[in-house]
């Protein structure tokens, strides 16, 4: 379309002129279109600039609305539900964000690593004649020992799985076009799902750990908080702080941040880039495994297809927090949990999924860097 051609002076052209040159606006033949476009443009930049504030205000309003229509108890119950759900999303989201931060790959297999590790946990808890299981239901100390055994072994197993995936499916493609590792990631995702389907069956698998953590921890008003709720939340927060400290303080953490900033420069500085990336996959997958364990302790049943949907929701959390930003992913997980639960309460549960993915679209259009996103070069 050419500006010189008088025949092309239709609404669309005027619109384009309006976008590029302010002086032409007054002379436009269709002022309504221009006015609308101006308003839209201003709205767009407004939303872009105040995105976090708008999001927080929206959430606060929803919570307030639930409070006024359903009362304090309902609000409290739903906040509790949101935090428990959010904790699981946060643990999975961190893996997405770490991998993206360091090799700029959306690791679509990550959700399935989460599901697979929940099966690892089940196997570990029930093998050796159900040793860990009987330990956990025996006494308080026994439960603690059982949890330590379960977390250490499952997280290690999932970590090595993550490393293996990186070694086999991503390492050789590190310098290939962006699309290639993305496709292998999807391939690995289906591979893992197929494996779980064949190995563990299509049905829900009861984890039979209902009796591990039982009872009510405390009652706030009329909201009773179960030990499992507290456990899920505390585990997630503790692991996130540990990871934060790890990345900030240790040499390996420093190497990870350096590799994320500039892989070639890191190589020049003597950082073993391959080992650092392997370690990133190990940690990300181990956190997903922690998510898998708390999931199975909270829901008592797991399924081969679990990772697909939950993975994409966690990915949305990572994008919301600013992909590549670990703290952002953690907070993003909780925010998504709140949106999921309160959206479900206000709009009906059938809308929860749609709402989450609408958020994904909105973030990517208005704020691709997410809430806490920064320039690519400083990501880690």
């Amino acid at each position: 379309m050419s500006d010189e051609s008088p025949a092309a002076a239709d609404g669309m052209l005027v619109d384009q002129r309006g976008l590029t040159s302010r002086s032409h606006r007054g002379a436009a033949s269709s002022p309504a279109v221009v006015a609308t476009s101006t308003v839209l443009r201003q709205l767009y930049s407004l939303v872009q600039r105040y995105f976090p504030q708008i999001l927080v205000a929206g959430i606060a309003l929803s919570i307030l609305f639930v409070y006024t229509t359903g009362g304090l108890t309902l609000m409290g119950e739903q906040i509790k539900n949101a935090l428990v759900l959010g904790a699981i999303y946060a643990l999975v989201a961190i893996g997405y964000t770490m991998v993206y931060g360091i090799i700029e790959l959306i690791n679509f297999a990550h959700g399935d690593v989460f599901a697979l590790s929940s099966f690892y946990a089940l196997i570990i808890a029930t093998s050796f004649g159900g040793f860990v299981n009987s330990l956990a239901t025996g006494s308080g100390i026994g439960l603690l020992v059982a949890l330590v055994i379960l977390f250490v072994t499952t997280m290690a197993a999932a970590g090595f799985t993550g490393m293996a995936i990186e070694r086999v499916a991503y390492r050789r493609l590190r310098d290939a076009p962006r699309l290639a590792p993305l496709i292998t990631a999807i391939g690995v995702s289906f591979l893992l799902e197929g494996f779980m389907l064949v190995k563990f069956g299509a049905d829900n698998v009861p984890t039979k750990n209902d009796l591990w953590i039982t009872g009510t921890a405390l009652t706030l008003g009329k909201v009773s908080i179960a030990w499992t709720d507290l456990f899920v939340f505390a585990t997630a927060v503790a692991l996130m702080f540990t990871l934060g400290a790890f990345v900030r303080i240790t040499t390996l953490g420093k190497a990870m941040r350096a590799t994320a900033q500039d892989r070639n420069a890191s190589l020049l500085c003597g950082i073993n880039v391959n080992r650092t990336i392997s370690a990133t996959f190990f940690i990300g997958s181990a956190l997903a495994a922690a998510g898998g364990i708390v999931y199975s302790l909270n829901y008592h049943s797991i399924q081969w297809s679990l990772g697909y949907r939950l993975g994409i929701i966690a990915f949305t959390a990572a994008v919301l927090g600013g992909i590549g930003n670990i703290v952002g992913a953690g907070i993003g997980g909780f925010v998504i949990g709140i949106i999921y639960v309160f959206g479900g309460q206000l709009a009906g549960g059938e809308w929860s999924d749609s709402l989450i993915f609408a958020i994904l679209v909105i973030i990517l259009t208005f704020r691709p860097t997410g809430l806490f996103g920064v320039d690519v070069t400083t990501r880690a």
């Binding site: 359903g70 309902l74 739903q78 049905d203 829900n204 009861p206 049943s301 399924q303 309460q345």
Partner: protein, 433 residues
């Protein structure tokens, strides 16, 4: 099962060959087909089939019914019910990995395959109403009789009873659909009776699984619960993949619900919902929840659930022989699913209809498959067969003439029948025993 699937084309060829052989032999006049006819001169092989969900999330629903139907065929052949003719049995699975259970698309594909096999004259199935919606038009166009042992959605047969099902458009051809179980109109009335009269609840929260069956049952429960003086304090409609019901449970509690009603199947979350509810809040459900999957999903929280399902036949004297035979054949007691004897009766009714057709056709199967299928459908409309569960007979719509449902509670780790309830035409529910 895999063998029989692979053999299907072979069976089809054999069947056609056998049927054409029969056609030529009808020239010999046989003794008139009265009740005492031994059908010794009957020649050929006739195929009957089942279409049920056998794998995935429905692995506790379909298989017992399939076994019972298969048993009926085996017994009919052993007892020479069709004289010199033999019955071939084909089993189809309408569950897919994609859906982790019953899949309407797979059901329609199964019926297309069965319809094109000219030796198939009738099918027992399906289990799920959503699958029936996809299968009925195929069966209707191909004149193929189908008897469902478990479909309860009234919209499948009765025009205008379900806004989500266009009953008229389900039957582009002949009306070939029958069922040996009552509809959700009756089940809804009975569930409402249990909730309001027996448990004295006035406030209920209703959740459904968005499927034809679940949504329909939930609608009928809500309608009759309100009519019986109760209040529906809230509703939710969630996809079958839902794993987290905490939001809805909290919502229900805040609205003072005394019970959560779930319209849907165990594969779609009936038991998972129970595991996330406080033990003090009871769950009420329909026949989709009455299976072992519910109990394993609900875990330590399973107690305190009540569901209605097919009328319990395990204590009927008419069913004693069936349960004995089932046990000796499969080494299972057959009481795991209340639908098991209904699969047996549905298949036996089909076999009786086939027999009547052969008898009326001078002791030979009609040579033309279309004629044969039409005659089987006509016979089913007037059948009155004394089966394990009682008399099997159908009204003009193809619905069973004796509709009722049993209430089940969990006793230890198993569902146990509590009482049988029936509803009359005016919707008045009575405890029948």
């Amino acid at each position: 099962m895999i063998l029989s699937k692979r053999m299907l084309p072979i069976l089809g060829v054999v069947g056609i060959a056998a049927l054409s052989a029969c056609g030529t032999s009808t020239t010999t006049p046989s003794s008139s087909g009265g009740g005492g006819s031994s059908l010794a001169s009957c020649q050929g092989s006739i195929t009957v089939a089942t279409d049920l969900p056998l794998t995935g999330g429905d692995a506790t629903d379909g298989p017992p019914v399939e076994k019972a139907a298969h048993l009926a065929v085996t017994q009919a052949n052993a007892n020479k019910v069709l004289g010199g003719c033999t019955l071939k049995y084909v089993s189809k699975d309408d569950a897919t990995v994609l859906k982790n259970g019953h899949d309407p698309a797979q059901g329609a594909a199964n019926f297309t395959a069965l319809s094109s096999d000219q030796s198939v004259v009738g099918v027992v199935g399906p289990f799920n109403s959503s699958v029936a919606v996809a299968e009925i038009p195929v069966a209707s166009q191909n004149h193929l009789a189908m008897i469902s042992p478990a479909n309860t959605n009234p919209g499948l047969t009765q025009v205008g009873t379900n806004p989500d099902v266009n009953t008229t458009s389900l039957y582009p051809g002949a009306k070939t659909y029958f069922r040996v179980i009552g509809t959700d109109i009756t089940q809804g009335q009975i569930l409402s009776y249990v909730a309001t009269k027996e448990l004295n609840f006035t406030k209920a929260y209703s959740i459904d699984d968005q499927e034809t069956y679940g949504k329909g049952l939930s609608t009928f429960f809500q309608k009759y619960f309100a009519a019986d003086g109760g209040t529906i304090v809230g509703t939710a409609s969630l996809p079958g993949t839902t794993k987290d019901f905490h939001t809805q449970v909290a919502d229900a509690q805040s609205k003072g619900a005394q019970v959560i009603f779930f319209g849907g199947t165990s594969g779609n979350g009936c038991g998972i919902l129970r595991s996330q509810m406080p033990a003090s809040l009871p769950e009420l459900g329909g026949d989709g929840c009455q299976d072992n999957k519910f109990i394993s999903d609900a875990g330590s929280n399973a107690l305190g659930s009540q569901v209605t399902s097919a009328p319990d036949a395990s204590k009927l004297t008419t069913a004693t022989q069936f349960y004995t035979d089932f046990k000796s054949t499969y080494n299972e007691d057959g009481t795991e699913s209340p639908y098991t004897p209904y699969g047996f009766d549905a298949m036996n009714a089909l076999i009786q209809a086939i027999k009547a057709v052969i008898v009326a056709n001078h002791d030979q199967p009609p040579s033309d498959s279309q004629t044969f299928r039409d005659a089987v459908v006509a016979q089913l409309h007037q059948i009155s067969y004394s089966g394990a569960t009682g008399t099997v007979a159908f009204d003009a719509n193809g619905d069973t003439t004796h509709a009722g449902f049993s209430l089940y509670t969990i006793n230890g780790t198993k569902w146990a029948p509590k009482e049988l309830l029936t509803a009359d035409a005016t919707g008045k529910v009575t405890v029948a025993g």
